[in-house]
Symmetry: C2
Subunit: 165 residues, 2 copies
DNA sequence: AGTGAAAGAATGTGTAA
DNA sequence: TTACACATTCTTTCACT
């Protein structure tokens, strides 16, 4: 499951187009890539089967949902043992405020990306859901001024621009 | 983009279902929610128009694309002035290794989520694209052991409908 | 908000390279 | 095995109620 899959120029072209707009139809993809629509269908089905494409996700605007303030919480869990971090991870993932959770190297064991209504809501979250837990030794809160998505994720290598045309 | 949007129980139900599977058909949504398919279409179109739904994103597996190592880079930019950070942000966003970029409060000005091939690739990225830049005062690298998506993003509070700005 | 029809897309089958 | 054309089925979308 962690092994690389062989992707040719057509696969990469399709992935690049789908990352621009995940709702493109197979007709549109086919026209851009220069193959038949049914071939595009086969290619995408294969990418999905081999685990390159994990799924389709809806991107929502947190501000429009009453969660206009986002923050990253750096969390130290002590002691850092399986029987404590399992329940910790489960609990954090289940919070409606949590957007993403990372287990990291370094002085902070976890980074939690949260979206809340306002500073008072953030204070409540930190006090009631983090520092009140026995295994949480320290929480450092960093507000997010602004965030950006970055370019499409594509394989590294000498020819990142091998487009099929 | 900061206009108030009022979401009723049907909107929230649709959003919850679409976050579970962004490829659900309007027929399936309609059956689950208990309205006509065309009503679902109208609701989703409105959520899209009002900016609640920002778009559909393809979720890819970085490991399958030869980027099996992910890390978070905490970056200090000195001096932290507009004429320096504008080009910095543009450059980082354009890197094929960048997945997301955050401008933060706290001692580290930026957090960059990157996906690379291996530790040597990460070392090259840090040295050639970060510490070699004059405005980058410090880079702290934290490897990602594991990461999790969290539950659906929904409005806070006991009231099923609200307005947000 | 719901109904039904027309347009369009997804998907399976057969077939040739 | 891989790509393609075609046919069938299902979905989306729009005019009307």
């Amino acid at each position: 499951m962690a092994d690389s899959v062989v992707l040719d120029a057509i696969d990469l072209h399709i992935l690049r187009l789908l990352q621009n707009d995940a709702r493109s139809t197979y007709r549109e993809l086919a026209a851009d890539v220069g193959v038949a629509p049914s071939t595009c269908l086969d290619r995408v089905a294969r990418l999905r089967r081999t685990g390159v494409i994990l799924g389709h996700q809806l991107r929502l605007n947190p501000a429009k949902l009453g969660r206009g303030l986002e923050a990253l919480l750096l969390v130290q869990v002590r002691p850092h043992r399986r029987e404590l971090i399992g329940p910790f991870v489960d609990r954090i993932r289940a919070l409606p405020e949590s957007r993403a959770l990372f287990h990291l190297t370094g002085p902070d064991d976890y980074l939690v990306h949260v979206a809340v209504a306002d500073p008072a809501d953030l204070q409540r979250l930190v006090l009631d859901e983090f520092t009140s837990r026995r295994e949480v030794a320290r929480v450092e809160t960093r507000l997010i001024f602004q965030q950006w998505e970055c370019g499409p994720l594509l394989p590294p290598g000498p020819s990142p621009s091998l487009s099929a045309d």
